[in-house]
Amino acid sequence: MDAAVTLRVERVSKKFCRALDRSLLYGVRDVIGELTGARRSADTLRPGEFWAVRDVGFALARGEALGLVGANGAGKTTLLRMIGGLIRPDTGAIRVRGHVAPLIAFGAGFDPVLSGRENVFANMAILGVATRDIHRRFDEVVDFAELGDALDAPVQTYSSGMAARLGFACAVHTDPDLLLIDEVLAVGDARFRQKCFQRLARLREGGTAFILVSHNAHAVLNVCERAVYLRAGELVCEGPTPDVLLRYEADDFGAAHDARGRLELPPKAPGESLGVDVRAVFFADDDGAPLAGPRTGAPATLCVRCRVTRPVRDASLTVVVNGMGGDAERVLHLVSSADRQSLSIPTGAVELRVRWPWCGLVPGVYGARVVVREGMTPLDTVESFRFTVRSSDVVGPSVYHQPRTWSVVPIGS
């Protein structure tokens, strides 16, 4: 294998069995097969089994970051566990160059009775760091975790955030060649997450390759330039992250953004509808003409076009806008009912609109979550409507747009 390649996954498959009794029995049989040196007829399914991962292949170069996206049960974690050497593939081969470290649920292996200091030693030893190296890096780890005086207190007295920080600090100070990150970056406060991202960036410059598994499209977009999309164990597509994410979102939410910044959603099956189905989301100007995206400082109206099959009297519209940053911070949380606006929706084709007299968002890419509710009950949800805010003027380093006028007013003495 080429020295520049850290990981090569070649036509790898893995089968699982949902029924526990059968699964355990297969486990015992597999062990016996392994011990007798028998070649397992691994590419056929036994009764009750299914493919958790099927014929997946890709490669990862040194210092490269790969996003692994897919719905729950798509096989992401199984693939990660095979790469980590925890379980063996049923077909194919996985070649890894160097040390693999999992960035797992924080503080696995922490003993609640022992102090943070003692746990650092045990935890880092489990992650494969020699005692000598733990001593050498200890101060750095403790600095990173920002525990202060709590270092010698039992871990069970820590807040969940403190424990998470300590776990992360241990994990990112192991100097792996390949780091497997499974859904863990969503922990801790925004500032600490940013610090984590910075540390990951430094590791990467040092040649560490990453695989990042996340439901959070924004996190993947920010860290990985390449992504792999898995569906029901099979590789659907692989390529530049934005393209893969578009495909994933199109499949997962049945939603597709067109070139004009409009999100179209397919009709629902009759059994799934709760009376109000969102069919399209887009921005329009004050004349009702569609906009590719709002302009900073200009008026904009977010239109949520619905197909309504029964009248809803006590409806509300929620729009939550997130930035597309590393921690996808929330920018806006708009709820019609919180504004004491009661919406009454008639049947037929209806557009729910929220007008912004001026768009206060500064230029950039955002994602919005749109929910139509009846009272507290959600009727339909759009998980991710992505839009781009542009500006004709220079906004400067402001975080939001403040509409303003300037003047000089002489005050008589």
Binding site: G27, R81, G323, P363
Partner: protein, 331 residues
């Protein structure tokens, strides 16, 4: 004051840019928006002296490549040492810290057992034959040896069960769990030996010079326990029956081992006891420490050789079985 104001000013001027006005590309905006260092694709770095070793995971049975397997096993053992030490430290500290009686727990069980049998024997509730040394000292020493054997037997099963969630998440050398348990057993044994020495001194029990060889026989006893525990450990993770069966088994096994009674000489029971491999190991250890006369050296040698060989085989089984077991227990 002025410095503080300057810092404030700098903070205000820091370019917290949602990128420029022309930015339309999502990825770039994302990097700029939060002031996160954009993660650059791998740059040219000084070439590493030698590329790190490659590991290959395939479905093929490891037994088809015995040399590679042997190399891996030796490597895993070497890599386990410092980890095992850390794990043992962790467990020992935790064990003694969350406990009022602390170290007392190491010697309370043998004391209670020895006291019970001594009282029963004096009250003629049970009748035991003559022992080479005063009965209380005999029972205490034997119980300590027996419990060390039981700890060795349970160690791998309990250790693997306790590390369950860790096993499902981190690919650390699995051997370290077993080694850590051995360290724990040694530590607990040292505490118990303090008690044994005290009781021997009290009853003025003579100790033969062969006592210096006793640790070797004891090691053999521990290895035999570890052998069985190691074989059961992977399956104990799959089926709870293993843990329960083990508790039942050790209870029955104690009856067949000359712990509270001297080695019987005649009858079916005597044959059963003699064929019990633990008898040879435990009795030899006891004899080396007290009388200095080993009654059945041949049997001891055979059992020791068999357990050394068996341990090697069991280690292979353990090593090969673990990934399959981890696969079934999930995370």
């Amino acid at each position: 004051m002025r410095a503080a104001r300057r810092r404030g000013l700098e903070a205000a001027c820091r370019p917290r840019v949602r990128a420029g006005a022309l930015l339309t590309d999502g990825t770039e905006a994302a990097g700029g928006a939060l002031g996160v260092e954009p993660i650059a694709p791998s740059r040219l770095r000084p070439a590493a002296p030698a590329p790190p070793a490659e590991t290959v995971h395939t479905p093929e049975s490891h037994l088809r490549h015995p040399l590679r397997l042997a190399r891996e096993m030796v490597g895993a053992l070497a890599a386990s040492r410092s980890l095992a030490w850390q794990l043992a430290l962790r467990d020992l500290r935790a064990q003694y810290r969350q406990s009022l009686l602390g170290v007392a727990w190491a010697f309370l069980p043998p004391v209670v057992l020895a006291a019970g049998f001594t009282l029963a024997s004096r009250g003629n509730v049970i009748r035991v034959g003559a022992t080479d040394i005063p009965y209380p000292a005999y029972v205490l020493l034997s119980t300590v040896l027996w419990q060390t054997f039981v700890e060795a037997l349970n160690g791998p099963v309990a250790g693997v069960a306790a590390a369950r969630s860790l096993l499902a998440r981190v690919a650390f050398p699995r051997e370290s769990i077993v080694l850590a348990k051995l360290v724990e057993i040694a530590a607990n044994l040292l505490v118990k030996l303090v008690l044994v020495v005290a009781v021997f001194w009290w009853y003025a029990v003579p100790v033969a010079p062969t006592v210096i060889a006793a640790p070797l026989a004891l090691a053999s006893l521990v290895l035999f326990g570890t052998l069985i525990g190691l074989l059961l450990a992977p399956f104990g993770l799959l089926y709870r029956d293993v843990g329960r069966g083990l508790a039942l088994l050790t209870g029955a096994w104690l009856m067949l081992t000359p712990v509270v009674y001297p080695v019987p000489t005649a009858g079916t029971f005597a044959t059963l006891v003699r064929w019990n491999p633990v008898t040879a190991l435990l009795v030899t250890t006891r004899e080396l420490a007290t009388t200095g006369v080993v009654s059945d050296p041949a049997r001891f040698a055979i059992v020791t050789a068999a357990s050394l060989l068996g341990l090697l085989v069991t280690w292979v089984v353990f090593r090969l079985a673990m990934p399959f077991v981890v696969e079934r227990v999930g995370s």
